[in-house]
């Protein structure tokens, strides 16, 4: 089916040298589980774009490499993409550490990276467009929801021990304390990747109930470890009414590894759910299922971020009339493209985008009921809730600076700190 489509497209192939774009997602190793989906998404988008006549009248060609979940290899492959394959844009990375590995290479060689995953913020590079959520586009609205709508007063911040949960929890800790939560009402725990023995931690969370306040869990637990966590939670008889769990890293893909009957009512915060009601989304899901040839394939938030990034790049290239990085970067700020939840996403001067925040309740079919949706929130590169970051901002077209101190009116650094 897929090959037939490709053939059909080459039939009316465009004139001119193909424009190359790099796909830098792990296809093997621990991260392959999540990243392969994004590789397929980019391939699908390229195929669709070519069917529409390509970009600037030239066809697109995706160059796929496999950094194999090996962080140094990400830098190596990025250099290869930029110098050997000479790609004009790269779609890639998932974990923060892979992005930090690629950053110096991208900045040195003046490449262009579209990063599609929610992350901890505190960064803005000239050469990266962050299409995933910054903390203010996910964590803060989610906590507001739990506090206002669910009445949570006592917090358990559970996370996998790496930088995204650490920074997110630091921000949430500061935010909650600013809003009058006592330090003893915040319980923080970090576990290793792939942790499977959750009995103790779930017991600790349940014991928080002794404080007489409504307990809520904010989970930044990553990947597979969620399976054991939710199983233990269900076994302990903790219902979403007693202790709601708000997850930032659990989406449709993760839930497909679980029996969700016991998780109904627990929550997740994203900027996209497959159940979002809009025509573009319906079309997108259909195309995705056709492309993968699998009726059961789900869509998820980083996929939407990839779509937005891809469309923004196409729009910017069309506007700039070239694929050269600097004109494209100039053109891309302010570009407005439709997102899949029925609104639009605008690329901001700090190289983040506007995204609505959606809160979903887990259903027993592994999908989410959207119970809350905000207006699009502009992504904040430097959080306002940590004192050192509050004075910083990123303004690429204005100040040509990704880390501008608004108090001293100086650019702290032009290149990123990796």
């Amino acid at each position: 089916m897929t090959s037939a489509l490709t053939l059909a497209h080459t039939a009316h192939a465009q004139e001119g040298e193909p424009i190359k774009i790099g796909v830098l997602h792990s296809l093997s190793g621990t991260m392959a589980i999540s990243e392969t989906t994004l590789k397929d998404t980019v391939l699908m988008l390229v195929e669709q774009q070519n069917a529409k006549g390509g970009v600037l009248g030239r066809p697109l060609e995706a160059v796929v490499v496999d950094p194999a979940s090996d962080w140094p290899l990400f830098a190596e492959k990025a250099r290869e993409l930029l110098t050997v394959s000479e790609v004009d844009a790269i779609f890639g990375c998932w974990t923060s550490v892979s992005r930090k590995s690629v950053l110096p290479v991208i900045e040195e060689l003046n490449g262009l990276l579209f990063y599609p995953v929610q992350y901890e913020g505190e960064e803005s590079s000239k050469n990266v467009i962050y299409t995933g959520a910054a903390p203010n586009q996910q964590a803060i609205p989610a906590v507001d929801y739990m506090r206002d709508e669910l009445g949570v007063e006592s917090w358990a911040l559970l996370g996998t021990d790496y930088v995204y949960p650490r920074t997110t929890n630091n921000i949430l800790d500061a935010y909650l304390k600013d809003n009058g939560t006592a330090p003893e009402d915040i319980f923080v725990n970090y576990t290793p990747f792939g942790h499977s023995d959750w009995s103790r931690i779930v017991a600790d969370v349940v014991a928080l109930g002794a404080g007489g306040k409504k307990v809520g869990v904010v989970s930044t637990i990553n990947g597979d470890a969620n399976v054991g966590f939710y199983k233990e939670l269900a076994a302990a008889g903790v219902s979403a009414d007693d202790i709601p769990v708000m997850a930032f890293s659990v989406g449709e893909e993760e839930l497909s590894g679980l029996d969700t009957a016991d998780l109904v009512g627990h929550l997740a915060a994203w900027n996209y759910f497959q159940t979002a009601e809009s025509d573009v989304n319906t079309a997108f899901i259909e195309e995705w299922k056709a492309f993968t040839g699998d009726e059961d394939r789900v869509t998820n938030d980083p996929m939407e971020a990839t779509v937005i990034g891809f469309n923004a790049w196409v729009a910017a290239v069309e506007a700039a009339g070239t694929t050269d990085v600097d004109p494209v970067l100039d053109a891309i700020v302010g570009v407005e493209v439709p997102n899949l939840t029925g609104g639009t996403a605008t690329v901001l001067p700090n190289h983040h985008i506007t995204k609505p925040v959606l809160i979903g309740e887990i259903r027993d079919d592994g999908q989410f009921d959207i119970v809350s949706q905000t207006e699009p929130v502009p992504g904040d590169a430097w959080t306002d809730f940590l004192p050192e970051s509050a004075v910083l901002e990123a303004d690429w077209p204005g100040q040509s600076c990704g880390m501008f101190n608004t108090e001293t009116e100086t650019c702290v650094q032009v290149q990123s700190n990796y």
Binding site: S28, E149, D161, G212, V227, K231, G257
Partner: protein, 640 residues
């Protein structure tokens, strides 16, 4: 509200004539609050709920349906209740609404909490026990004095468990919102010594304190005075507290000092100090003092002022609860519960440790067997665990009934991994006899090949392996001591295998031969035992047990191609610490490691990763003192 404008006349025209026994008040409330019904918020929904409840039985029925997510709004703005049989009835008239296609309302759990709370009083005597239970659940999350009164009036219940719960809830609510001091103190004393979560949840809020800075003892329920510069309030914290209370000016930060100096820069000097010297903090202080003297900058708080402020003020802790008699009783009750609570937490920790130990035991037992008999470490052991788990998953996709699938999966996992073990033995291990390090590496090659193979076959996504319903949930002694049923089942499984293993080793011909080969392979061979066959059988047996362990682990954790890696190092540790060639050694090793992990984890609840590091360090040091493990192997084999 444009929509409302459209809808109202329509409603009036359509509904008025039809519904004779309608509830016009409810109808009006609905019409006025379509937006509020559609998008309720916990913070604002309470007046609406009260309004609806006040309209009478129809209103209460509507609330009930709303909280159960059985309420919908039709295109023309009517509220309809969808019953269990999918039939729609109008919420106002009670008339059936055929062919209604309402938009279902999905209030979030916070809103539902508010609604349920409003329904409590009526539901306490509802004939339906599930409604009564729901009402009690709602009350358990907090209640008002009116609800307490309602509860007291409804204490009788045909269902004895519900009656007991009502009585208990009455006591708990009395503690929180009782009519007077005596009643509350009595309620506390009635329950004192209880360690259950709900009682502690009622007590602890009474004992919440806040810190107050004052020059003399403040009004209110004072818990205690905190001495400044003591353990509870170090000097720096006290200064910060005074600053935040506004009784002390904040000290000058270096950034502020720098900004002030920069603002007063003239002719390359600040306050007479050359700019080039200002990279020295002392020079900055001198420059700032000069500016202070000149009056160009405000004086900063000096050390003497800080000390004076500290001397002048005292810090108190005040109870939020104003009634001293209640806090006194609560404190006494809390102290009484403390020792019991500690003991129970200890027991709970012990159960966790036991559970982890039995998992490690199951995972390591096969490794110990092969190591004991053949002196080889099978690095692919983890992948046998993985094969077992995937077998369980595959069986579950084929057989829908979870109990039956588990019954099939366990022996099948054993058979599959037994076969894999035998194949591995015949093809690889046999050819590497007496070269343990080469065996280790060759089996490692098998391990990475198997892992990647699993990824190719099953994908990298975690696969679901779900326990049957009777293994879901947990066994709960009280609110502190509880353990999930699946862990108990794994413990039983581990015991079963311990028994089975002992039986095979001590009571069967195979066991006798295995023991003979373990102790002296040469001698055993000359007695007519085929060491090759024995080695193959033990290898298969060890691998088979790993397969069963895989199913067990998959039931409570995630089934991925890396599941084996999670357990393999711990399994090695278990074998090394326990000592080889003896099942009791493995048991001791698993118990030590499982127990130790949990104890270290409980010391450091914020960081599970550090706990793991400390455990491995402990094991490395332990090996120094007992290089052959807790129960070392005796005899000639030990020297090999």
């Amino acid at each position: 509200m444009t929509r409302l404008g459209r809808v109202l006349p329509l409603l009036a025209a359509l509904l008025m004539p039809i519904c004779a026994q309608a509830n016009p008040a409810l109808e009006a409330v609905i019409a006025d609050n379509l937006e509020g019904l559609e998008r309720p918020s916990r913070l604002t929904v309470e007046p609406l709920v009260a309004q609806i409840a006040a309209t009478g039985p129809e209103g209460l029925a509507l609330l009930q349906a709303w909280s159960e997510r059985q309420l919908g709004l039709t295109e023309d703005g009517r509220a309809v209740i969808i019953g269990d049989d999918d039939a729609a009835t109008d919420a106002v008239t009670g008339q059936p609404v055929p062919e209604a296609d309402p938009q279902m309302l999905r209030p979030n759990s916070g809103v539902r909490g508010v609604i349920e709370s409003a329904l409590v009083a009526g539901a306490l005597n509802d004939p339906d026990p599930s409604r009564r239970r729901a009402a009690l659940d709602s009350l358990a999350r907090g209640g008002s004095f009116e609800q307490l009164t309602a509860l007291r009036a409804a204490l009788d219940d045909p269902d004895p468990t519900l009656a007991a719960r009502k009585a208990r809830l009455e006591r708990l609510l009395t503690i929180q919102v009782g009519e007077n001091s005596e009643a509350r103190v009595t309620a506390i004393e009635d329950l004192a010594g209880d360690v259950s979560l709900d009682f502690r949840a009622a007590l602890n809020p009474l004992l919440v304190t806040r810190r107050v800075v004052a020059t003399e003892e403040p009004q209110g329920n004072v818990a205690r005075e905190i001495s400044i510069d003591g353990d509870d309030l170090p000097r720096e914290a006290a200064i910060a507290l005074l600053v935040s209370e506004g009784v002390l000016e904040p000290r000058l930060t270096s950034a502020e000092q720098r900004a002030a100096l920069a603002a007063n820069l003239s002719d390359g000097r600040v306050g007479g100090v050359p700019v080039a010297d200002l990279s020295d903090p002392d020079a900055r202080d001198r420059a700032y003092e000069a500016l202070e003297d000149a009056g160009t900058v405000p004086p900063a708080a000096t050390e003497a002022e800080v000390q004076a402020a500290l001397d002048a003020h005292r810090v108190y802790e005040l109870y939020a609860e104003p009634d001293p008699a209640v806090t006194e009783a609560a404190r006494a009750a809390q102290i009484r519960a403390q020792v019991r609570l500690g003991a129970m937490q200890g027991i709970d920790l012990g159960l966790d440790a036991l559970s982890l130990a039995s998992i490690y035991f199951l995972a390591a037992i096969g490794l110990a067997v092969t190591f004991g008999v053949m002196r080889v470490i099978n690095m692919a052991h983890g992948e046998f665990i993985m094969m077992g788990a995937y077998t369980g998953y595959t069986v579950q996709t084929l057989i829908a009934d979870r109990t039956l699938s588990l019954v099939v999966a366990l022996p099948l996992a054993f058979a599959v991994t037994f076969g894999a073990g035998v194949v591995l033995y015949r093809l690889v291990i046999r050819h590497l006899a007496h070269r343990p390090l080469e065996t280790l590496l060759a089996t490692f090659g098998v391990s990475i090949a198997l892992q990647q193979l699993a990824k190719n076959i099953f994908g990298t996504q975690a696969r679901p392996l779900t326990a049957p319903a009777w293994l879901e949930g947990s066994i709960t002694i009280n609110d502190v001591i509880s353990i999930s049923s699946i862990r108990v089942a794994i413990f039983v499984l581990a015991l079963l295998f311990l028994g089975l293993f002992l039986f095979i080793m001590k009571r069967t011909r195979l066991g006798l031969e295995v023991r003979a080969v373990t102790q002296n392979p040469g001698m055993a061979a000359s007695m007519g035992i085929n060491p090759d066959r024995i080695a193959m059988m033990t290898f298969g047996l060890g691998s088979g047990i790993a397969g069963i362990a895989g199913v067990a682990i998959g039931l409570f954790a995630q089934v991925t191609s890396e599941i084996g890696q999670q357990y393999i190092v711990q399994s090695f540790m278990t074998v090394v610490v326990g000592g080889v060639g003896n099942i009791w050694g493995t048991l001791a090793g698993a118990t030590l490691i499982g127990g130790l992990s949990k104890v270290i984890e409980s010391f450091n609840p914020g960081n599970t990763l550090a706990a793991q590091t400390f455990m491995i360090l402990f094991i490395i040091i332990f090996i120094q003192f007992r290089p052959r493990g807790i129960i070392p192997q005796k005899g000639r084999a030990a020297e090999a």
